[in-house]
Amino acid sequence: MPVLLYPLALLALAALPTALAIYLLRNRFKPTLVSSIVLWEHLTRPKGGGIRVQRLYLPLLFFLEIAVLALLALAAADPHLPRKSVERLLVAVLDDSASMAARGGKGAARSRGLRALKAEVKSCRANAVRVIVAGTKPLVLDLPAEPGAALGRLDGWKCRAPRAALDAALAMALERAGSHGRVVVITDHTPAEDVMNNRVRWIGCGEPVANAAIVEASRTAAGETDRCMAGVANYGTGPLTIAATLSWPDCVTSPVRHLEIAPGEVKRFTFAVPGSARVATISLPDDALAEDNRADLLHPVEKKVSVDIAVGNQVLAHALRSAVESSGLSSPMPVWPRLVIADETGSFASADAWIVRCRTTAKPVVFTGPFAIDSDHPLSDGLTIEEVTWAADTNAIPGTPVIAAGNTILVGERALPGGARELFLNIVPEKSTVQRAPAWPVLVWNLLHWRAESGPGPRATNVRAGDDVSVNVGRAVRAAKVKGPDGHSTERAPRGGVLSFCADEPGGYTVNDGSASYSLSAQFLSPEESDLRRCATGAWGAPQADVVAPRAFASCAVWLALAGLAVAFLHLVLAVRGKGGS
């Protein structure tokens, strides 16, 4: 049944009776009395003539005019006709978390899920499929819409992600499906009650099996020897005795830790690794899930800062020097220091050095609090200033306030062209006690750590899979290559000298910015995925009958208008040639 977009345009059909009336009036015969019809009978009579007016004389041109009017009126109403080919869409949400690759007695959940998906496509007679992979983030796979072709090319469904963003993927699927498409979720566990509706079919293909997993792993530099810590969890129904093997390059005999772990317990242990070992590996015997049986820990990043303290006030200089030395983040000062702490009016030749300008000479006002701290600023991480006095000059200092007392800025900072920072420290130490309070070393440590973090390289070499990773590559770098665990390289653009990406799969990553190469290691470390005891098999949601085809319509106004113009042209030709009646 056609749908009219502008039904009021049908009012133009009122022109039809108008045209008919014109013809009727034109063809009406006026009675005329004559002496005799003897002289008239031979005259040409109208076709189909008769006493009554017109049933008789509606020429072809009249019908053409009626056709033109009707076609143009219908075209103006913009009728839409149902389309023959209608897409019956099924949107599949595939759980891409590593637990889908767990091997149980019935095989991997991924294989069973793929079979279930094919059966679902067949049962609901879908003729188009969209696939959304739910890893750490939902991702729409670029596949053909035809179901057979799409389901044969599911290489992007790797099942290695440390978690599955099923809620986000389901929301995206419902949006993609529109009001008529259906959604099927292929996963390994039961659905939450609030995600189900009549358009969602939830198919669980999981199998509850016991699994041991490395759920914690870290490596800390401690001089020439690094300290490693690992936690192994028993996600089984009974006690587990397992051997954790430690290894690193040049390791002659790999140490083994025998662990007895109660069900649901996490057993932690530490071990030392030579600082020269680039990578230390912790491994467990094969079990249901392979991803969580191995953790590769790289040598942690040691970023230190060369600090030049050139403050005229000796009390302040002493306090600063003590805090810097005790922070463990300072390094011997090269020719050009990376952080300069000096008096307010000093000048410096280094372009990339950060500068801390100290105002110490003016007449101070002593503040006892409260002190306002910008808690989001890197300098205020863990900083609490209480029960101290802070003497400072009340004249304004430039920069954004980080610590203030009333209207007086005590610590401020601003960015300099080229990426460097300029900080302002407003303190008269002779009348202050803050440099003797616990907040002082925290403030100085934050300062050095902030400066160290801004140096090139990753902020951490060992990360948890699924976390966002930031690597400082320098402001001049326009593009950097990221090589993932699968060996595939992608080029990414840094922003503000920082390259950020998500380490969504466990394994090693390499970032190359053209001048330097940095390595990272992403550990699986996902207790939720490693715990396979909650996996389940089943189907939830109403069985999907035929996917309802949306009522698709196509406008035929253009064709009607063209037909009307064609008939009008025919009318013109006939009228010019004098055919079609008159």
């Binding site: 034109r26 063809n27 009406r28 015969f29 006026k30 009675p31 005329t32 009395l33 004559v34 002496s35 005799s36 019809i37 003897v38 002289l39 008239w40 009978e41 031979h42 005259l43 040409t44 009579r45 109208p46 003539g49 008769g50 006493i51």
Partner: protein, 290 residues
């Protein structure tokens, strides 16, 4: 007879006062009258002598000639006759076509002919073609006294002649006043009318609407007598076709008139009414100035 028809008769009388009937020689027969007849009669005008034949009036023997020659000679005198005019008026409804002057002109013609006849000291008799040929009341007297002249009949003259032809005066002059617009061969009608007549004149009275119709476009043509109708589209071509049909019709009548020894003329009613003159009748030697 309506008041307006009476006025038309008076109009015709006035118009006819200027004319006299041009009596043809063939019409010099009839009752004793003003005109000298072709036969011997009882007038005082001597005509000829001849031998007596049994049965001749003994009073016509010229006894003086018998005395001198001993022969019975009879004196012949010229006959005095009174010619007669029969005026036959078509009273069908078409002669009173609405919106035209046909009725007025026809009545005027009849009255004028009667007055011209009186001016020529001829007798006259007015007839009307109604359901049959009937005498007009008072039709032998002054036209102003005529009665019963109604133009509402639907019988064609041909049929009326068949039903009851008029009792025409032998050797009289007969004049048919009609529009002649009826189907059929006119020769039968004309022969019936011309039979025993000294002369027959046919005057076709047409309205200007009959001669050149003003109808344009689609029209339903209705016969005023039969009410038969045809639907036509009147344009220049159709007007030409109509004029040709009228010409053929008139030609047909003229040919029939020649065959019957009649003379025919056509007058336009509106022109007759407007001028009050009958030049066409003069040209056909029916009338002459009084």
């Amino acid at each position: 007879m309506t008041g307006s028809s009476r006025e038309h008769l008076l109009e015709g009388e006035r118009a006819g006062m200027r004319y006299a009937l041009a009596v043809p020689r063939e019409a010099l027969r009839g009752a004793s009258g003003y005109w000298s007849g072709r036969l011997s009669g009882s007038s005082v005008d001597f005509k000829d002598y001849r031998e007596y034949q049994p049965g001749d009036d003994l009073r016509a023997i010229d006894w003086s000639v018998y005395g001198r020659t001993d022969r019975l000679i009879v004196k012949l005198f010229r006959e005095e006759v009174n010619p007669h005019l029969d005026i036959v008026i078509d009273c069908s409804a078409s002669m009173a076509l609405e919106g035209t002057e046909k009725c007025r002109a026809t009545v005027m013609l009849g009255a004028a002919l009667a007055m011209a006849s009186m001016n020529a000291r001829c007798s006259h008799h007015a007839w009307m073609i109604a359901d049959a040929v009937r005498s007009v009341q008072g039709g032998t007297g002054r036209p102003a006294l005529w009665a019963g002249l109604e133009f509402d009949h639907t019988v064609t003259p041909a049929e009326a002649f068949n039903r009851l032809p008029g009792s025409w005066r032998p050797q009289g002059i007969r004049v048919l006043v009609s529009d002649l617009l009826w189907p059929g061969d006119p020769i039968h009608t004309l022969r019936s009318l011309a039979s025993g007549a000294a002369a027959l004149f046919v005057i076709q009275v047409l309205a200007r609407e009959d001669a050149t119709p003003s109808v344009a476009g689609n029209a339903q043509i209705v016969d005023v007598e039969t009410h038969a109708a045809v639907e036509v589209f009147m344009d220049a071509l159709a007007a030409q076709s109509y004029a040709a049909a009228l010409a053929r019709h008139q030609t047909n009548w003229e040919r029939a008139c020649r065959q019957a020894g009649a003379r025919m003329t056509t007058v336009i009613a509106e022109e007759v009414v407007a001028t009050g003159r009958f030049d066409a009748l003069e040209r056909m030697s029916l009338l002459e100035p009084a």
